[in-house]
Structure formats: structure tokens, C-alpha cells
Amino acid sequence: MIATAIKLIGRWYSIPLLLLVWQVAVDSGLVQSRLLPSPSQVWSVLVTELANGRLVYHAAVTLCRALIGFTLAVLVGIPFAAAMARSALWRNLFEPIFFLGYPVPKIALFPVFTYIFGIGSPSKIAFTFIECLYPIVVTCFFGFRGIQTRLVWTAANFGASRAVILGRVILPAALPNIFAGLRLALPVAIIVVVITEMIGDSIGLGYYITIWSTRFSFANVYAAIFVIGVCGFLLDQTLLLVRRHVIYWQREVP
């Protein structure tokens, strides 16, 4: 009992310790609380803003955009990667676009997206879609390519049709890599939505951060950062939960 408590403290002491140092530094006047609000100030702002629903509203906007863009990228990206992996024609047509385009910073194209789709949600969703599509297609492509051929041959030998092979052999074998790609793309979705909201919008957590930092109310900024962190953490845990149910035969790497 005491041993587990000590172990728990040993593992998690750093966050409370830093919060304590931060609080003491602000309370003792070492740091101006105007520039760096203390954790207790941030906490009280967080509670009021959650209670009056403002942070909830902006967080909902950001999450909706991120999830719509991410889902579209998943729905398009996985079949696209499968087609690229299984057909030489598709591979030759689209491989350079994805593999040479992968390291290109696509964020620079965002101004063009705002011209095409307007300043509101559509441009953010479209841009999130593009940014998520690349990691999903690239990792899923390797997943579909890396299947042991003897699995496919065995299934074909037993007279399985192409559809059965795709659904019962290729897809399950590629699932670990597919989930690796999704786990790469999900934080990208949130990052991209917040960045594009900071660049130009009137709703969303990115906007909330920009507007409150121009008003020099940094307690609100930290509260919003905290909410983003919680959202990202919950999304990642949800994805891991889904993964555990879908790929029940393989433990995830910690």
C-alpha cells in the first residue's frame, strides 16, 4: 500500500512539483502575474469559462472541424492506399505525388485554401483533410505492401474470391499499420485546425487563444491550452481503445 503510493509519487511528482514552483514564483512576486498567471488563477478562469460555456463552445467547434477532416481523410486515404498497393497502374500514377509531396510543408498552401473555400469551416476542414491524408496514405501503403505473400497464396489456393481475400486476409494483416497511420494523423488534425484558427477565424480554440492574448489575459490562454491538451489526450485514448477492440490478437507497443 505505502510502497505503491511511493511508486505513484515517484512516477507523477513532476507535474505537481512544477505547478507548486510556478505558484510560489508568482505569489512571491518573482514573476509578474500579469505576464504569467499562477496555476490557481488559470484554474479559476478555466472553471468560469467552462461553466458559462464559452470554452465548451469553442472546443466543440475545433473538435468538429478536426474530426470531420480526419474522418474524410480516413475514408479516402485507406481505399486509396489499398489501390496504390495492389495495382501497379495506380502506384505509378500517384506514388510520386504522395512520396515526394510527403516532406513538403503543405501549410504554405493554406492562403490558397482560404481563397478557394472561404475563411470559415470549409477551408479548415479541407486543409485538415489534405494534411491528414499524407500520413494515412503513406503508412497504410506500407501496411498493404508488407503483407506476406504466402497468406494471400494460401487463401487463393483454397478458392477464396478477390473480395474475400481483400476483406479477410489483406485488411486484417494491414490493420496494425493502418492504426499506426491514424495515430500519426489524429494529432496532426488538431494541430492544423488550431493553427489555421489562429491565422484567421472568429470561432474555435485557436481564435480564443489569439483574442485573449491580444487582450493580455494569459490566464484564458493557458485555460484554452489546457482544454486542447485534454481533448488531444482523450482522442488518442479513444483511438487506442478502438484499436484494442479491432486488433484483439495483438498487444500495442507501449
Binding site: 515517484g10 511528482y13 506514388e95 510527403y102 510543408p105 492562403p111 490558397v112 508488407g146 486542447i228 491538451g229
Partner: protein, 258 residues
Amino acid sequence: MNIKPALILNWTVPVIALVLWEVYGRLDLLPRYLSAPTLIVAGLWELAVSGELWPALAASIYRVAAGFMAGTAAGIVAGLGAGLVPGVRNFFDPLVSFLFSIPKIAFLPVFLLLFGLGHASKIGIIAFSVFFPVFIASRHAVLSTNPILLWAARNMGTPPRTIFFRVTIPAVAPQLFAGIRIGLAHAFVVLFAAELIGSKAGLANLISYGEEWVRFDLMFAGIVCFAVLGFVSDRILMAIRRRVLRGHLIGTEEQVVQ
């Protein structure tokens, strides 16, 4: 001369897209903000000749290089420390697992306040966001080092210093480069956003000036420069990686995205 059909197919989509863009752009069938490829090249030339391009390019390169190097160095040192020493690991793990899911750009207002509008705030935020993927990769790599290698070295009486430099470092290098590459991609995203939101110099500003002056060819010229800069730095990193890891890559199918 024999050209492989695969090579023709490789170029089909980009070339068709460029030609359609050019033709439709020249015929004014596209909205004006899409410009046309030849106009963009002309815009790039104009920027290069008038000398507007070079200070912007230099500012961006300086920021991304300094921030990337600082973040990578800090990430490697902290990550190796966390992998080797349980105390360091316990200090960093909760912090990193909480901060990792936050887009680091959200801290930009804080960095702008602390370091001002100049180079320092951009370098700071870039280093801050590069730190995390590098830290996670190196921490994970140290912990997943094959223990047989360490046992063998210890059995032969190797001093800890030699084990660190001759066993641990070579064993973690491949994963380290994977983390550094993700960090480099983050660096460019953060660079763009940071320059756009709070800066007076840099490629992102060139792009937004192009927008303001309704010179869409100049806007695209800036975008092309930014994209090429990101692409070339990734290629340089991959070349370094191939040189450093030449022992590791023998006999393996190079599966990493090139």
C-alpha cells in the same frame, strides 16, 4: 533511348495538372487568385532580381535552422538521459505525455510575450515543438535497445562510457533519425504559423504581402520557395541519415519513405 513506361506514368498526373492549370489560367477560366505556373516562375524571377526574396529567405532559414538544431540537441540529450536514468525518466514522462497532445503553436503568444517579435520567439517556439518528437524517439529507442548487446559488452568488461558511445548510440541511431525527421516537419509548420501571426520578415510574410498587394503570382512564388525549402531540408537530413546509418542499412529493404 529507352524510357520505362513506369516513369511516364509517374510524371503523368503532375504534368497534366500543370498543363491544365497553365491553359485554364491563361484563358482566364480559373479564378484570378490561382494565377498560372509560368506567371509564378516570372514572379519568382522578379522577387529574386529585385532582391526582396533573399532577406526573407535568409530570415526563414536562420530561424528554422537555429530552432531545429536547438530543439534536436535538447531532445536528444533529455531523451537519452530519460532512457538511461529512471529518475530523469520519471521527471519527464508525465510532462511529455501531457504536453505532447497540445499543438505547441498554442504557446506562441507566450513566446511572443517573452522573446518579442524578432528571431528569438520563433527560434524558441520551433525548438520547443521539435523537442517532443525527438525526445520521445530517443527515450523509446534507449529503452528498446536489445539487452543482449549490453550484456555482451558488459561481460567483456567494457567500461560504461565505451558502452554508451559504442553500443547504445549506434543502437538508437535509426529511431533517433525517425524522430528528428518528424521534428523537421513540425519545424516548418510552426515556422509558417509563427511568421504569419507575429513577424515582420520571412517567407510567410512574403506570401501574405503577395496576398495584400493582390499579386497572386508573388504569393505563389513565396509558397513555392517555402515548399522547396522544406523539401530540400528533408533531403539533406535523409542524406545525412544514409551516411550515418550506412552500416544499419546493409541487407535491409529501405522501407522508410525517401
